[in-house]
């Protein structure tokens, strides 16, 4: 079982839980499906907190973990980011390299004209 898969499962646990969970809670919830070591769950939770995906709070002696944002919020952020620099700004922000930017209708028209067998029209 890779750490990446485990992270997803742990996040699913946190998302579906009504309240912040302790490592023991998460371990128990995961244990229903498969065998994972308690320390592994702890490591994964710490990693998630370090990445900012989960939030760690202290309640007395126990560390409580919760998802820092809902799944929908994270999905929205990811999609906005993935689509965000498609287009003219592509060259400005080299964080992601897109296969092709978004073209305006006029550009699309030109592309179609070029595709329909008249590449000579291109400059």
């Amino acid at each position: 079982m890779s750490l990446g898969h485990l992270e997803r499962d742990v996040m699913d646990c946190l998302w579906s839980a009504p309240a912040p969970m302790t490592v023991r809670d998460v371990h128990a919830a995961l244990g229903e499906q498969r065998e994972v070591a308690y320390t592994t769950v702890m490591t994964v939770l710490q990693r998630l907190a370090k990445k900012g995906l989960a939030q760690q709070t202290k309640d007395g002696k126990a560390h409580l973990y919760s998802a820092s944002e809902s799944r929908e919020q994270m999905a929205a952020e990811l999609m906005m980011d993935a689509l965000g620099d498609v287009g003219g700004a592509q060259a400005r922000q080299a964080a992601l390299l897109h296969f092709v930017g978004r073209m305006s209708p006029k550009e699309t028209e030109l592309l179609k004209a070029a595709l329909s067998g008249s590449p000579e029209r291109a400059p």
Binding site: M74, L96, F99, V100, R102
Partner: protein, 340 residues
């Protein structure tokens, strides 16, 4: 002309007219690999010329002061107003040069941090939310992630350590398996050749130099050139047709924002052309779609215009070598002699 004057002339030429003219040279797009090298050579030569010119000017001013002083006898009282002015200019220039160096480094670090932070966050989210693998193949590639994102067909790569290629499920739906493979190969070519580092270099110059026309041309052209190179890598394996089809499908899919206000670059915007058709063409060129299409349709990978590539490579070498040998070396030797 004196060494500082030559270096200033070189610095000005390389930072403004040369990049702007190179950006207009369409023939360069037929030799993308050599053109990328040339753009880097122009950038390095411009940096060397700017800093070399500053240092040479400072040195000339200070040496002049020193000679005048020892000829007129010691003591500050003997310095004439011209000497004071020269010293002031030299100190001012030294401060400016130091400031420019600091700014370049600062912007470099800023850009690097910004990009890496952005990519790390994006990768964390992708690993959490995107699914691995294409379709139900058990042999699906390890580095490819599929993002569920409604109707938009797109693909991109996330460079750096632990690189990823991301493709939307709409793209998987709209493209044939061969087209998908070609697109993934295109993105992997970006990752293999670390095109992100090249773009990062030009982004730093662009932001450090105050977003001027020269650095903007360099950034935009290098962005187009790396697309041409990635296309070349992909069509070596799959031929041009899958890429052309993928460009058409993904480039023209439903726009997210209002298409009434297409983002066009300032460089394009400035060249206000009266003919609407020509204007349209420059817009496409700015995005790099038309040069890509043209290369995919017209130019087989195997037949590169060898003469042109060789000439461009030679030009790149000359840009670095000639000023060094003709200006910097004699100047250094002279300085050494006069100090001794």
């Amino acid at each position: 002309m004196s060494t500082p004057a030559w270096l200033w002339l070189l610095a000005i030429t390389l930072t403004w007219p040369v990049p702007v003219l190179l950006a207009r040279a369409r023939r360069l797009l037929t030799v993308p690999r050599a053109a990328v090298v040339l753009w880097q050579a122009v950038a390095v030569a411009a940096l060397l010329a700017v800093f070399g010119a500053s240092l040479a000017t400072i040195q000339a001013l200070v040496i002049g002061l020193f000679v005048r002083n020892s000829a007129g006898g010691p003591g500050l009282r003997d310095i004439d107003p011209t000497g004071v002015m020269h010293l002031t200019i030299a100190v001012g220039l030294l401060l400016l040069t130091a400031l420019a160096l600091v700014k370049l480094n600062y912007v470099g670090i800023q850009v690097a941090r910004r990009l890496r932070r952005h990519r790390r966050r994006h990768r964390d989210l992708v690993d959490l939310l995107a699914r691995t693998g294409i379709g139900d193949e058990s042999t699906s590639p390890e580095d490819v992630r599929v993002l569920e994102s409604g109707e938009r067909a797109y693909a991109y790569c996330l460079p750096g350590r632990d690189a990823r290629v991301i493709i939307s499920d709409a793209a998987l739906r709209d493209l044939t398996p061969e087209q998908v493979a070609a697109v993934i190969e295109h993105e992997r070519a970006h990752l293999r050749a670390r095109h992100d580092l090249l773009l990062e270099f030009f982004t730093v110059l662009y932001e450090a130099a105050g977003r001027r026309a020269g650095t903007e041309a360099a950034l935009e052209q290098s962005a187009v050139l790396v697309e041409l190179l990635a296309d070349d890598a992909a069509r070596r394996l799959y031929g041009p047709q899958p890429l052309i089809a993928a460009l058409a499908t993904m480039g023209s899919s439903t726009p997210l924002e209002s298409p009434a206000a297409p983002k066009s670059s300032p460089v394009v915007g400035r060249s206000d052309s009266s003919a609407p058709d020509v204007e349209g063409l420059t817009e496409v060129t700015a995005l790099g779609v038309l040069p890509r299409l043209q290369r995919l349709v017209d130019a087989p990978v195997s037949i590169a215009p060898r003469g042109l590539a060789a000439a461009v490579y030679s030009l790149a070498v000359a840009l670095i070598a000639v000023p060094t040998v003709a200006l910097a070396l004699p100047w250094l030797l002279n300085t050494y002699e006069s100090v001794r």
